[in-house]
């Protein structure tokens, strides 16, 4: 694993070069979730990166502007900036690994960003783990969780009356960032960065089945891969805890290996 900083202002990334006996000459760019989900997923994505590198992939996971270890205050984050960050990270991975062939794995809103990224070179395969399909619903749900937290005696000794502000579950979501997230709706997305999309869903997949069907109708080679480990991203008690990917990790690996040598 090697740390890398790229772009200006610099984004932080961790590069896992292929370590297996059979390097595949193929890169996997990991686009993590945002905000509290970013922190929850860190450990699972580290394990996944190590496993993918062992399987011969060159892997880059990185933090968007204003997220994790990258430059920028959380208050400055913008969706358009993040979408461009995905493109910049893809180019960084291709340069680091000296490869052309690229798959992108996006997790939650990271999946949304991967699908709507700007400046992205050709992507052979887009893998979306529990993608946020509807940005507006995503924000509404976070707002509900935030309101519930303020009156939860396990968090606060006394119910809190918060001053009006941008805070949602510990992170600032200003008007511009909220507008950018609300505008994201993968169900209405016409230009996809890859002709091959796999949606990986842990637990009940009924909500994403119509989305996968719709992709197929648009001529995209779309696959739904189910796993039994359901990550409850909307569990308020889990905010701040590391998640366990369980067999989702295997499902992602199998998706990336499928039809490839």
């Amino acid at each position: 694993m090697e740390a890398t900083q790229f772009g200006e202002p610099p984004l932080f990334g961790l590069y896992h070069p292929a370590t297996g006996d059979r390097p595949r000459g193929r890169g996997v760019l990991i686009c993590p979730p945002i905000a509290h989900e970013h922190i929850r997923a860190h450990r699972a994505l580290r394990f996944l990166s190590v496993q993918l590198a062992r399987e011969g992939f060159d892997v880059l996971r990185f933090d968007y502007f204003g997220v994790g270890d990258s430059a920028g205050d959380s208050e400055e984050a913008q969706v358009a900036h993040w979408q461009a960050d995905v493109g910049a990270a893809a180019k960084e991975l291709r340069a680091l690994a000296g490869i052309e062939s690229l798959a992108v794995l996006g997790v939650r809103f990271g999946a949304t960003l991967a699908a709507t990224a700007t400046g992205l070179p050709a992507v052979e395969h887009l893998v979306l783990w529990d993608p946020v399909l509807d940005g507006q619903q995503y924000l509404l749900r976070m707002e509900e969780m935030h309101r519930a937290m303020l009156v939860d005696s396990r968090s606060f000794q006394h119910p809190r009356q918060e001053r009006p502000g941008p805070g949602l579950l510990g992170f600032p979501f200003g008007p511009s960032l909220r507008a950018g997230i609300s505008a994201c709706d993968l169900r209405g997305l016409h230009r996809w960065p890859s002709g091959r999309v796999t949606v990986v869903k842990g637990g009940d997949a009924s909500k994403v089945e119509p989305f996968v069907k719709e992709l197929r109708q648009r001529g995209i080679s779309a696959t739904l891969r189910q796993a039994s480990t359901a990550v409850d991203w909307e569990d308020r008690d889990a905010v701040g805890r590391s998640l366990t990917a369980g067999d989702v990790q295997g499902a992602i690996l199998a998706s990336l290996l499928e039809g490839r040598s």
Partner: protein, 274 residues
């Protein structure tokens, strides 16, 4: 401000990000530890924000992952958590001494991170200051009065409380399945006598101590003078600063609470080491 990632320690297994002001100074270096299992950025990125604000004041900060956490690899051959933590911190201080000539350190953490910071201070004389968020505290008569007094004044509430305590005593407890994660998350407070002896040692070494407690720690701490009452024989003088944010939760989730936390830490750093 400059930021760069480093791998250090034996075999480069430890990982951290060093945030430095544009101009080097003789001030102590700050080391921020993991809060529970959260990687080095801290809950809600609190360690990143704090490191950058400290850099604006002229302090360099390493936010690091202890072995086996975040992006640091496990430390082989050392099964004891306490010894691992001390060895990790020693490696971090050695690294900063070699690379930047650092001689004094302020170590800080939340919860288990606070207890780990204390351990590092006991083991290494280079630690000049401690920032402990929701670290140890022990009951005192005043603590108990504040905690249980309101119930005692209300007979119905007192009965409900006694009933709950009795049912807790007889209810079957779930079987324990300890894991390494559990070990990190559920560290008990050390015995009070031992802490008293170690705090006396800190005072002799002239360590600056900042103890901050959130409202979420109400089961252990509920008034500002509690630490001095816990250790009446330790001549803290002005070496100990205690802050209490009863309205805040354990990880300072609300932005307004975090601003108050930052103001307390930055003000203390400026006063003691600026």
């Amino acid at each position: 401000m400059k930021e760069r990632a480093y791998a250090f320690g034996e075999g480069g297994g430890l990982f951290g990000i060093l945030t430095e002001p544009e101009e080097a100074s003789q001030r102590p270096f700050v080391i921020l530890l993991n809060a529970g299992l959260v990687h080095r950025v801290g809950p809600f990125r609190v360690s990143v924000d704090l490191a950058r604000r400290l850099a604006a004041l002229g302090f360099s900060t390493l936010r690091m992952d202890l072995s086996g956490l975040g992006d640091s690899t496990p430390r082989p051959g050392e099964p004891d958590l306490h010894r691992r933590v001390v060895a990790d911190l020693r490696d971090a201080m050695d690294f900063l001494a070699q690379r930047r000539g650092a001689r004094r350190f302020v170590v800080g953490g939340i919860c288990a991170g606070a207890i780990n910071a204390h351990r590092a201070a006991v083991a290494d004389p280079r630690v000049a200051g401690l920032i402990m968020l929701d670290g140890y505290a022990y009951p005192t008569p005043q603590f108990l009065l504040r905690r249980y007094g309101p119930r005692l004044a209300n007979p119905a509430a007192a009965l409900r409380f006694v009933g709950r305590q009795l049912s807790n005593l007889v209810a079957p407890q779930p079987a324990a399945t300890p894991s390494e994660d559990d070990e990190i998350l559920s560290q008990d407070f050390p015995p009070k006598d031992r802490i008293a002896a170690e705090l006396r040692q800190f005072v002799e070494r002239n360590l600056a101590l900042l103890f901050i407690y959130s409202g979420n720690w109400y089961l252990y701490f509920n008034y500002r003078e509690q630490i001095r009452d816990n250790f009446p024989d330790v001549p803290f003088g002005d070496r100990l600063t205690v802050e209490h944010f009863p309205e805040a939760d354990h990880t300072y989730t609300l932005l307004e609470d975090r601003e108050r936390l930052f103001a307390a830490v930055l003000g203390w750093m400026r006063e003691k080491f600026g």
